[in-house]
């Protein structure tokens, strides 16, 4: 365990090992997302109340889930960076913010497109929707800090603090549908109870959720690897890498 922790501190080691993981995550996420989408669009039964607009759930729920867990990972990583001064943790925070922002945006937008035929409105200032919008602004805040502060370690500290403070919003999003009287329906899934949907509806959703997480892993690896290259450009191992495998590396 501790040797793993120490190795994580070495950007070179991380760059090499992540290069091996990357194709697996990429292929797995591509397969899961394609299978999940086709299943969701063409084979899952229509909802008896919502009809076919219900198919939006298959991209909406995983996006919202990922948007929140990405923020939690970012905050934990920020804390690790603050406490143990681990470079990889700082890099993770920087890399996660734009991905999280894009999935929060996707969750909000697919929610709006779903809301129109289901609730009759694109947007309403309801607790769930508003707290998700705040999540989007928190991600924008981290991105703004990263681009405004030149010094990487100062930027990392500021982002980590914002991510940790922003964690307050996560339980608010989760319990918003219970604490307030909202238009948004309660959670479709919980870990403790049996799904209220029939199997042929929730299995494709599960496929999509796993696909989204694999996709996140793929993109976060791409971004952290880029950031490592930039930060370590003066080191010998990056120089060597630039000299020899230029064409081979460019493919990834």
């Amino acid at each position: 365990m501790w040797t793993f922790f120490h190795k994580l501190g070495s950007p070179k080691w991380f760059y090499e090992i992540s290069g091996k993981w990357l194709p697996w995550f990429a292929v797995l996420s591509a397969i899961l997302l394609v299978v999940g989408s086709v299943w969701a669009l063409a084979f899952a039964p229509a909802d008896y109340q919502q009809g076919n607009s219900f198919r939006i759930i298959y991209i909406h729920v995983p996006a919202a889930l990922l948007a929140q867990s990405c923020f939690i990972m970012m905050a934990i990583s920020g804390a690790i960076g603050l406490i143990w001064k681990m470079k990889i943790a700082d890099v993770f925070v920087k890399a996660a913010a734009p991905i999280g922002a894009s999935f929060t945006f996707l969750a909000l937008l697919t929610g709006a497109v779903w809301g129109k035929p289901t609730w009759g409105t694109w947007w309403i200032w309801d607790a769930r929707l508003t707290s998700m919008l705040i999540l989007l602004f928190l991600y924008f805040g981290v991105m703004a800090l990263q681009s405004a502060i030149e010094d990487a370690s100062t930027a990392a500290k500021a982002s980590a603090v914002l991510a940790l403070v922003g964690m307050v919003n996560i339980p608010i999003i989760k319990y918003s549908v219970e604490w307030w009287n909202t238009l948004h329906q309660p959670a479709t899934f919980t870990l403790t109870e049996k799904p209220s949907m029939p199997v042929e509806m929730w299995v494709p959703l599960l496929v999509m959720v796993i696909g989204y997480y694999c996709f996140f892993a793929t993109v976060i690896l791409l971004r952290t690897r880029n950031e490592i290259l930039e930060r370590e450009r003066r080191t010998n191992w990056v120089k060597k890498l630039l000299e020899k495998g230029k064409d081979k590396e460019a493919a990834l």
Partner: protein
């Protein structure tokens, strides 16, 4: 298959516009998420390979 034919599939029981709009935006978000860092990597490799070359020539 949940639909009788292809035009039924496109119509989505009258909700076609919403369903396809949502999936379209999702596709854009996914593609942009991959394209961004992949293009950035090419840029980084090119930039630093050039810098390395320059440094070797001057030294």
């Amino acid at each position: 298959m949940n639909f009788e034919n292809f035009s039924d599939f496109l119509a989505m029981g009258g909700h076609g516009l919403y369903v396809w709009m949502a999936y379209g935006v999702a596709l854009i978000v996914f593609v942009a998420n991959v394209a961004g860092p992949v293009l950035k990597k090419k840029d980084i490799l090119k930039k630093h390979a050039q810098r390395l070359k320059r440094e070797k020539m001057t030294s």
